[in-house]
């Protein structure tokens, strides 16, 4: 009885740690540029397919992984400088920029279908999901452990970057008040561009660890993207710790719902929880409302 609960809880934590990586990327971009990046999942899809091609051609996993991170980060940075900055100069508002991310999503989907085809493929992954370990009454697969480790390492590295480095200080300053940051000599455009790169790379990590559990097709990140988005809203769209907390709650909740209610109810319950939380706390669990000073 207890084992069953722990088992599904653990499965949920494993899924939740990937949602956390997706959510962190979304929040990072939202709190610095106030843009919701609808291409977040698709950038990860593209980069994961890059890994697929490299692994199929017998490159080692670390090489493929690194290449994917670079591709994902580069797409994020290029989109920021090549499209968003230009749009902003032309006076695009936030909604316009959000629509632009939607456009990027569609373009990437097209590219992926064109280059890799729409047939699902499986990513040759060095970590197995059939090798399992037993802790008491709970069984954990190697993949699931690796997934949790990836989520943890990704979150901790981001925390250290934001809280403990120069760049992080500049990122925090820029996200809180662009004009003040600029008048203190911070090249805010560059900082925002790097934020886009870091955020996209986090999404790529999620994509690569998700792919072996699912099949890789041009739309495989859609569901994780929506979950990550929901987790971010649940935790508070401008709070990085909130994104992690929201993601873990969401992962565990949907896993338990699948176990104890019915599997069809898995997604529904997750979103019901979000609706309830938002009715009670519209700013999310850990979010703070932005105070606009005029």
């Amino acid at each position: 009885m207890m084992d069953r609960f722990l088992q599904y809880g653990l499965t949920g934590l494993s899924a939740g740690s990937l949602y956390a990586l997706v959510a962190l990327g979304l929040v990072l971009i939202y709190r610095s540029t106030r843009v919701l990046n609808f291409a977040h999942g698709d950038i990860a899809t593209l980069a994961t397919f890059v890994s697929y091609s490299l692994l199929s051609n017998h490159y080692s996993f670390p090489v493929a992984f690194l290449a994917s991170l670079l591709v994902g980060g580069a797409v994020g940075i290029a989109f920021y400088f090549g499209v968003l900055v230009k749009a902003q100069r032309e006076g695009a508002n936030l909604l316009g920029m959000v629509i632009l991310t939607l456009g990027l999503a569609l373009i990437i989907q097209g590219v992926v279908v064109w280059w890799w085809g729409a047939e699902p493929v499986s990513l040759p992954f060095p970590i197995s999901d059939t090798t399992t370990y037993r802790f008491g009454g709970v069984v954990v697969s190697q993949l699931s452990l690796a997934t949790m480790a990836a989520g943890l390492v990704g979150s901790v590295l981001l925390y250290l970057l934001v809280q403990r480095t120069r760049l992080g200080l500049a990122m925090r300053a820029t996200s809180e008040n662009v004009m003040a940051a600029q008048t203190l000599g911070i090249p805010t455009r560059l900082v925002l561009g790097l934020s886009w790169g870091v955020a996209s790379a986090l999404g790529v990590v999620a994509g690569i660890f998700l792919a072996p559990a699912l099949l890789l097709d041009p739309f495989f990140m859609l569901d994780p993207f929506l979950k990550g988005f929901a987790a971010a809203v649940l935790g508070g769209l401008n709070s990085l710790p909130g994104a992690v907390v929201g993601a873990l709650i969401l992962g565990v909740a949907e896993s338990l719902a699948g176990a104890y209610l019915t599997i069809q109810f898995k997604n529904t319950l997750a979103f019901l929880i979000i609706i309830v939380v938002l009715l009670v706390r519209p700013e999310g669990l850990l979010g703070k409302e932005f105070k606009e000073r005029v």
Binding site: T165, A170, M179, Q182, G185, V294
Partner: protein
């Protein structure tokens, strides 16, 4: 004598509204110049032009002989101009000390690797500089406090400290004593005076409070409706009939 900052025939128009019209002024190294004028006279617009937040419609601004109008705001700061805002723009969710550390940003190594690795020696050097400012502005009791939780008077000090942390040659202060109690105004005036003496920084300040402005500044420029109406010693400018008319009406 060569001016540190020179503004020539500066005009700024938004659509049909003229915010500044043919403004000319020069700030000499080491002096404190006050720009006065009633609300809406263009004082803050002038600051925003100097710091490249606004692009002037016409005219030129030069700093240490170099034209400023093509630079972005962060480049202007890097050249040695710092400012405070009339409505504070602090980083509310950061500690007071972190706010000052942001001001140190442009003195960190340009090298990205060094930035990520956070070199110890450098860190200590910057901390020391910030502690100096903390001590100078009496911020010791609040150094770890979230800036947003500090009282207004303290927040004004933090913003002044943050501007000082960039080690500017020229400091622009936008209504530094507005919203303060009489006692706080006195204190603040003392600090502004000390900044010139202790750090050797040239100051251009915009002030609504004529008493404070005339105490601090060696020279004054008066604006009204975006036009320069008087320039000279504080006493002369305040006696100028156009200035009296601008402040008191007809």
């Amino acid at each position: 004598m060569e001016a540190l900052l020179e503004v020539r025939e500066l005009s700024l128009r938004f659509g049909g509204i003229t915010a500044l019209s043919q403004i000319g002024l020069a700030v000499a190294e080491g002096e404190t110049l006050a720009v006065i004028g009633p609300n809406g006279s263009g004082k803050t617009s002038l600051f925003n032009c100097i710091t490249s937040i606004y692009r002037p419609t016409s005219g030129a601004i030069s700093f240490r002989g170099e034209p400023l109008t093509r630079h972005s705001p962060d480049e202007v700061t890097r050249l040695g101009i710092a400012r405070t805002f009339q409505n504070l723009r602090l980083f509310h969710n950061m500690s007071v000390l972190d706010n000052l550390m942001v001001g140190r940003h442009l003195h960190f190594r340009k090298n990205l690797l060094a930035a990520v690795l956070r070199l110890r020696g450098e860190e200590t050097r910057h901390r020391r500089r910030c502690e100096e400012i903390v001590e100078f502005l009496n911020l010791e009791p609040v150094r770890k406090t979230r800036a947003g939780d500090c009282p207004y008077g303290v927040q004004k000090r933090v913003e002044l400290g943050r501007a000082l942390a960039t080690e500017p040659r020229l400091l622009l202060l936008d209504e530094p004593v507005s919203g303060l109690t009489q006692e706080e105004k006195e204190e603040f005036a003392y600090w502004i005076h000390e900044i010139r003496g202790r750090f050797g920084i040239t100051i251009l300040l915009v002030e609504h409070d004529l008493r404070v402005a005339s105490r601090l500044a060696g020279r004054m420029v008066a604006l009204d409706h975006g036009v320069k109406i008087a320039e000279g010693t504080p006493a002369a400018v305040q006696r100028h009939p156009d200035v009296i008319k601008a402040y008191l009406g007809e």
